[in-house]
Symmetry: D2
Subunit: 302 residues, 4 copies
Amino acid sequence: MKTIIKSIYDNYRNFTGAGKVADYIAPLANVSADKYAISVCTIEGEKYNIGDYKEKFSIQSISKVLTLAMLAPLTGEELWECVGKEPSGSPFNSLVQLEYEKGIPRNPFINAGALVITDKLLQKVPDLNNRLLEFARSLAGSNDIDFNKEIADNEYRTGERNKALAHLMKSFGNFNGKVSHVFRTYCNHCSMEMNTEQLAQAFLFLANKGINPLNGEQIVGYRDSKRINALMLTCGLYDESGDFAYRVGMPGKSGVGGGIVAVIPGKLSIAVWSPELNKYGNSCRGIATLADFTTELGISIF
Amino acid sequence: MKTIIKSIYDNYRNFTGAGKVADYIAPLANVSADKYAISVCTIEGEKYNIGDYKEKFSIQSISKVLTLAMLAPLTGEELWECVGKEPSGSPFNSLVQLEYEKGIPRNPFINAGALVITDKLLQKVPDLNNRLLEFARSLAGSNDIDFNKEIADNEYRTGERNKALAHLMKSFGNFNGKVSHVFRTYCNHCSMEMNTEQLAQAFLFLANKGINPLNGEQIVGYRDSKRINALMLTCGLYDESGDFAYRVGMPGKSGVGGGIVAVIPGKLSIAVWSPELNKYGNSCRGIATLADFTTELGISIF
Amino acid sequence: MKTIIKSIYDNYRNFTGAGKVADYIAPLANVSADKYAISVCTIEGEKYNIGDYKEKFSIQSISKVLTLAMLAPLTGEELWECVGKEPSGSPFNSLVQLEYEKGIPRNPFINAGALVITDKLLQKVPDLNNRLLEFARSLAGSNDIDFNKEIADNEYRTGERNKALAHLMKSFGNFNGKVSHVFRTYCNHCSMEMNTEQLAQAFLFLANKGINPLNGEQIVGYRDSKRINALMLTCGLYDESGDFAYRVGMPGKSGVGGGIVAVIPGKLSIAVWSPELNKYGNSCRGIATLADFTTELGISIF
Amino acid sequence: MKTIIKSIYDNYRNFTGAGKVADYIAPLANVSADKYAISVCTIEGEKYNIGDYKEKFSIQSISKVLTLAMLAPLTGEELWECVGKEPSGSPFNSLVQLEYEKGIPRNPFINAGALVITDKLLQKVPDLNNRLLEFARSLAGSNDIDFNKEIADNEYRTGERNKALAHLMKSFGNFNGKVSHVFRTYCNHCSMEMNTEQLAQAFLFLANKGINPLNGEQIVGYRDSKRINALMLTCGLYDESGDFAYRVGMPGKSGVGGGIVAVIPGKLSIAVWSPELNKYGNSCRGIATLADFTTELGISIF
């Protein structure tokens, strides 16, 4: 494993210029394009880290998995009446789709879906910001995880389309809280900063039937663990999910900060960070790294 | 294996009334609701059959996998410029999506995508109807496979929306042949009749890295085999694909004739037939059967 | 004229039950269904009133004409880069249309368009609420015109879809102010209460080449007066505008409070009030009254 | 009148280069850009012609008014259950709108609506091609009117989007005939060639309460005459109808061959031809001519 990771890292070490660092807000645009880190955790407790794995970055949409995992055990199947479980097709039609499907987003990983998840969480967990930090810290086995206020502020200020989605859902009765409060909370979550070492550890429970291997705690039931993994495989990489499924074959989730985290159920979790994004908003080097990783390991679910 | 299949079959033997037999054309409406068959083939050559596995039914959309598998080796990556590889979201927006994405269907398993596949095939395989029958017969190891003219006629006559899709794609330059000819050919393919024994055998190459185990022939390359399986997992069961992925966890494809075929790469293929459909157009008993099958085998990719 | 109006009034006096009083907010739902008033003003200064013409009601969307008339002279042709001048088709697609046309609403009388008008007005007229009241009072020649705070509060609270429209436009850069502030102002305007006597007088400038006949003030230029009238004819009655054009043939604007005001350029203005609405949201008795009015007068522009 | 027309003609005589001749099919692209003709007919029988008024051109969408006028007296109000009477908004959403409104086009002047009109006509008038020629010849008082087979062939061959619209309507049950036959007939009608002299005369019945002034024949009832005029005012110039209403103020209909015909009810009809089109598909010089014409006459319905 160590050899494989080292070899992939060396191979892609100078692989920059293929994409573009997210620049819709300044704090993301300022991240250096050549950052590169890989971290792997196995359920047996082994850990492999290489590159900038100590440096924290904005996890962005990866936080959508954390909030879903936090909410799932607090609700039953009725959660799925407020948000779907199916892939969404291209993002262009999120408003059209919401309109047509009466305010029910297609899945928890598109922005509309994640906003509903945050809204529902806030009904049940009033002190959500702190609780989510604790949740992430406990999963990652590290207290050094926080929100980045500057990024959250920027996200909030520029998030007009997200506010439109929230108000549209509210018009259909599928949104309870105050839009500004829920969206601000959502922005906080997206601004959470972790490094790959923390991220790989934090997602290991999804490779372990929902149980945090650090302390044996059942984070989500096995059923929900499978469901979240299936959702990541079919919808975790925006409009590149189908391609990712075939090339990488692992349930995974990406963020525009350049992070991707993925799991092999029963085996391991892996986090990669490299800020340059392809046209779908996914880390170029991250995808290449993961594709080589499963190929080298000889693992393919297909 | 035999015990598992027998037990599932016995369990669901009287499980009818949960759905509705397809009735948009008469020949489908007349099929008896209590038909039920299961067939399994392993790559080691074992076969298990139970129920009405000798009785043929209309494979309908399952034929979309066969035409894609026939076309894939005849083209290179340029195929994916004419049709996408991503899930499509709900069918409601097929026209909207085609309009927005300039006539490029999201994947080969929605009708628009399968029409493009048929159109492309006809450019390369003039005698396509006969060649597809030969293709299916060779894969199934059985010469007793044919089209059902009555069903094809009905499909053609009532297929106005499909013709609209084809003309819209033609307006965008993503369709070469004459719509009536291509669509008639497409209807023939959908009308193909097979039984579960033939169907399970015919799909075994997708569990075998693209190689027909009956004769060692490379039907599609390993890369394409993985790609087709990934497409089946993310888009094979219409708007229930996400749920199927999580509950069953096998790449599969359904048809409104009540058939579902699925594979476990490296292991086996399984075909189920039961005509009652749920609201998504998938066989109720078929899905229940496959969910129990993977649970009993203790297999889950998630 | 007096005879015609009296005869129409008598004819429709007991004409209730054909529609439904707006009930999406309580203060509108509580209005008595049998209210009925007609007021006519000619540019020669004659006035005819009958029925409940002293009783004030919520003018709702009729206020969109007042804000447009207030803004037009403050801007030049660049106004029409932010909002279109064309009919919009059915309301269902306001979000779709905004998305497709990059945040530019089709005309100033759909909600999105009126929100843009209010936003632009607020940039130029900081004390807009008071100034709009003065504008309406001056046009109507009456100081007894105010907003209804209860209605405005209700509109604001239930206006999620309007907020979604505003945020979507903001995401396209076609909205400058704070959504909550602009929308609150918009709700105030919709809550303005006038009676038919005031309303007919207030709209007479549009029959008089843009000049307020009460004081000779040029409210809008002749060019803008024609433009506003053309917009009312093509888009003034929601999705019934085409039918209204043919049956009534006057530029007009309706509101869900049951008011309709219309003009015959060069001649007169007429306001009708009757709260029961048809399925398009227009006053049933109001339309019947206006249709008879133009028929009796022998006036048809077609 | 003669002076006004002469003066406008002289003014715009060298006004070319502002637009672009339609070039989607060769026979239209080959028309000389500097053609220019004006013809006026009054209901008193006066006629004024200037420029290339003897030269025939393809009337294209102007034929939609003729087929509507032919069908209207053959049906009652039930016609309006198959096609709407409201403006359609921008053409982009014709497919979306048809989908959303269950196959009912918004009005008879968008392509989908005209296809429905042709379909309905063919049910009632089997020998429609000849009958429509006779209808046009009788209205124009000239036998020298025919279809242009080359244009019709080209329209048919390139009309994939129109075929898509027809099949989509058929899927909703709002289309009876064979698409290829109905669309071929529609293409014939669009290919009809007339000169401005014939065109102005042919539309005079719409300025004359539905009566052909040449022979006193009631072509359509007064009610339908008003309705057709209202439809032309609100939907006759594609996505420039609102602007045309305000600038010109006459009910009118344009075609991509560069023709525009318009009427002043109770007074006259006017036809203009100049092939260069603006971005909306309307004749640049045609619109300028008509705007000046109503301004000079001091006529404005607004």
